[in-house]
Structure formats: C-alpha cells, structure tokens
C-alpha cells in the first residue's frame, strides 16, 4: 500500500483513523478492530522509519487499539463478547462524534471568510476634556523645581541596596577558630563554643570538635555525668 506519510495533515489520532477508514472504503459502523489496528500501526511504523517524532496521542491510540485487538485474540468467555462489542462501539461513537465537529468546521470556515468580507472600526475614544487652569501661569523654574523634587522622591522610592549573603562556615575554618580560642584560653567549657545559636553554626561547631578529637588535637574531659565538659589543647 502506498501511504502519504505525514502526520501534520491530521488533527489527531481520531482524524487519522477517519482518514484510514475513508481510504479503505469501509462503513464506519462496520470497521473491524483487527484491520483498522493493522492499518493504523502500519502507518505509525512508516512514520517511525522516517524518524519522525510521533505525538504521544498517536501512540496512546495505538496502545488502545492493540489492547482491543488482543482482547479479541483471547479465548472467549461468555461475557467477553459483549465487552468486545462495547470497545468497538465506544471507538465508533468517538469517531462519529469527532467527525461531526470536523465536518462542521467547513461551515465555520465559510462563515469566517464571509465575515472577513466586511470591516468595522475600533470604538472612538470619548474622554472628557481636561480643563487647564491658565490663571496661574508658572515659569519654567517652577517646573524644573517640581521635576527635581520628583526625582528626589524617586530616589527615596528606590529600594535600598541590600544583598543577602549567606555565610558558609566550613568545619576546617571552625577548627582553626576553636584552636585559636583554646590557645588563648587554655581550657574552655563545651557550651562556651556554641556562642551563636543558629543551626548550621551549632552543627559545624560540633563537627569541628569531633574532628579535632579525631585528629588528637584536643582533650575532652567530663568529671561526672552531667558535669561541664571541658576542652583543652592536647599536650598543654
């Protein structure tokens, strides 16, 4: 079979199906799922061979058709026959419903071109005149002054230049800081190191202490449970 291979001329999978049905001269009410599925898939395959991207809607329809077809292939149970008929009826109804609107667009096109034969114009602007008070004739300086005032006001309106900086604190930095503190103070309370209460700071500080312990740079002592923990540089 010879296909005109282009999807652009179709408005969607329903449009393509209608085209295929018309091509093969079948009555819409007598379509066979098996045949139409084959034709549809052949068409889609041809497009794939040409490396055309196929809109997902077309693939969805392909999947639906395959599902219908595979149901036909299954051994028949008693109720199955009815279901098959339903699938087919639903598809036929969708096609007919779609065809109804597709057909009517011809009328819309006619109406559109007929309406395009005549022109109207935009509404006129009706505005009340603004009365200008000429009694108080100002000189140019007043205007300049006013403008300068306006510019100053504008300046005020401008948002202050604020930049939001997020200070990143690294464990390494904090380690150096803690060692500095220990060098001057010799011994500090564990809690003293948490002088700022924000979460990243607390976490980094805690990690730094662990790091310093790991590297054997500090000693941590606690006399009893719940006593103060003290930290000092190792070997001092």
């Amino acid at each position: 079979m010879n296909y005109e291979v282009s999807l652009d001329q179709f408005e969607g999978p329903l449009d393509l199906l209608l085209h295929l049905i018309k091509e093969s001269n079948i009555n819409i009410y007598e379509i066979k799922i098996e045949e139409i599925t084959k034709q549809y898939l052949d068409y889609i395959k041809k497009l794939e061979e040409l490396n055309l991207t196929i809109a997902s809607e077309y693939l969805l329809m392909a999947a639906e058709l395959i599902e219908m077809k595979s149901k036909l292939l299954l051994p028949k149970k008693e109720n199955n026959e009815e279901e098959e008929e339903n699938d087919r009826d639903i598809l036929i109804n969708r096609l007919i419903e779609y065809q109804k609107y597709k057909e009517i667009t011809k009328d819309f096109k006619d109406m559109e071109s007929k309406r395009n034969m005549i022109y109207t114009k935009s509404p006129s602007k009706i505005e009340t005149d603004i009365k200008i008070d000429n009694a108080n004739k100002g000189d140019i300086n007043l205007l300049i002054e006013a403008f300068q005032k306006y510019l100053e006001r504008k300046k005020e309106e401008k948002p202050l230049n604020t930049t939001i900086t997020k200070k990143e604190l690294s464990v390494h930095e904090r380690c150096v800081k803690i060692k500095d503190i220990l060098k001057t103070k010799k011994v500090v309370n564990f809690e003293e190191l948490f002088d700022t209460l924000n979460i990243p700071y607390v976490v980094v500080t805690f990690l730094s202490i662990l790091e310093l312990v790991k590297q054997n740079e500090v000693d941590i002592k606690q006399g009893n449970n719940f006593d103060n923990i003290t930290i000092s540089l190792r070997g001092e």
Partner: protein, 197 residues
C-alpha cells in the same frame, strides 16, 4: 430626522463594540419597535449605491461595517490578509465549545482525541472564548469555557442560535450513507438583520 442622524453618529462612535438595541432605546428614548424602525430606516439609506457602509447585526449588537461588495478595494490596503484566519485545530475546538458550552478542557480533549491546552489558551488570548466558572459536577471543579460575543462577530453571527445545525447522531443509524445524508445543509444566511424582520 434628527434621531436617525444621532443613531448614525452613535454607531460610528461605538465602532466594533456595537450598539445593543436596548442602548438605542435608552439613549434616544424610544420603545423597541421605534428603535428597530429607526435602525431599519438608516439601513435602507445605506443600501444606496453611493454609500460605502452598512449596518450589520453581529454578536447581539448593531455595528457599522463596510459592504462586502467592496472587499476587493480594501484588500489592497492589506499586506498579508490570510495570515489571521483560524487553524483547523482552532476551528474544531471552537465548534466543540460552541455546541457544548460551557465545557471543560478535558471534555474537549476527549472529543478531539488530542490535547487542546495550547489551542484553548490561544483562543482565550484572541477573545473568542472565555472562562465561565467552575464545574460543580465534575471532580476537581475544572474550569468551564464558553464562547464570547467576539466569537459570534468573528463568524458573522448575531447569536448562537444561528450556528449551523449539527445533527445529533442517532445510535441506531446502521449505515454511514444515512449518516452522511443527515449532514447539515449549509445555511445560507445572507441577511444578518433577521432580527429586524
């Protein structure tokens, strides 16, 4: 007759916004019959070959328009005239909305078998359809869409009742030939001023 002159001026001023019959009645202090009479008279004056404009009834309003027999002359003013007509997708979507309004986008998608989000947005931008509240019956209360008076004007209609008749498909139709023969005859409606008759 002064009223006729004022009416002509009014129609000129409102342009493509158009003038409702009720506005003509209010402004000129006329009853409905008098207002219709006045419009008909003015329209008759315009029928004169020496006049370049006429009155059309579009989107439920009266509008001054040029005459279609002069179209060729106006075309010479235009550079790319055809660029502005609606695409097939837009026409299908509009037809579906017009015959089913108010309707949700998903329902349009279902009827067309493709996603129409983009087309719907473009139609809204062109003022041919608008949102019309939310559906109370469907889950998630999706937005409903309907056509505007600009839609009617665009297709030269005065109201939705002038849409070409679309046959309800009869489920018992056994033959496609029958279906095709049921197809709407194209409506020949050259006289847009039916309301005046």
């Amino acid at each position: 007759m002064k009223n006729k002159a004022v009416l002509e001026g009014l129609l000129f001023v409102v342009g493509d916004d158009g003038l409702k019959l009720s506005q003509v009645m209010d402004i000129l202090n006329l009853n409905m019959d008098e207002a219709k009479e006045l419009i008909t008279e003015l329209r008759k004056d315009y029928e004169n070959k020496n006049r370049g404009i006429t009155i059309n009834f579009l989107g439920d309003t009266f509008k001054l328009t040029t005459k279609k027999e002069h179209k060729d002359f106006y075309s010479k003013l235009l550079q790319n005239e055809e660029s502005n007509i609606l695409s097939q997708a837009a026409l299908e979507t509009l037809a579906i909305i017009a015959y089913n309004e108010p309707i949700t986008r998903v329902e349009i998608d279902e009827l067309r078998g493709v996603s129409t989000g983009y087309v719907v947005r473009k139609l809204i931008a062109r003022g041919l359809i608008k949102e019309s509240g939310k559906s109370n019956t469907l889950p998630g209360k999706p937005t409903l869409y309907k056509t505007t008076s600009d839609f009617l004007d665009y297709f030269g209609l005065s109201s939705l009742s002038e849409l070409p008749k679309i046959e309800e498909t009869d489920e018992n139709n056994e033959s496609i030939d029958l279906f095709l023969s049921n197809r709407i005859e194209q409506k020949n409606n050259d006289d847009d001023l039916e309301i005046l008759d």
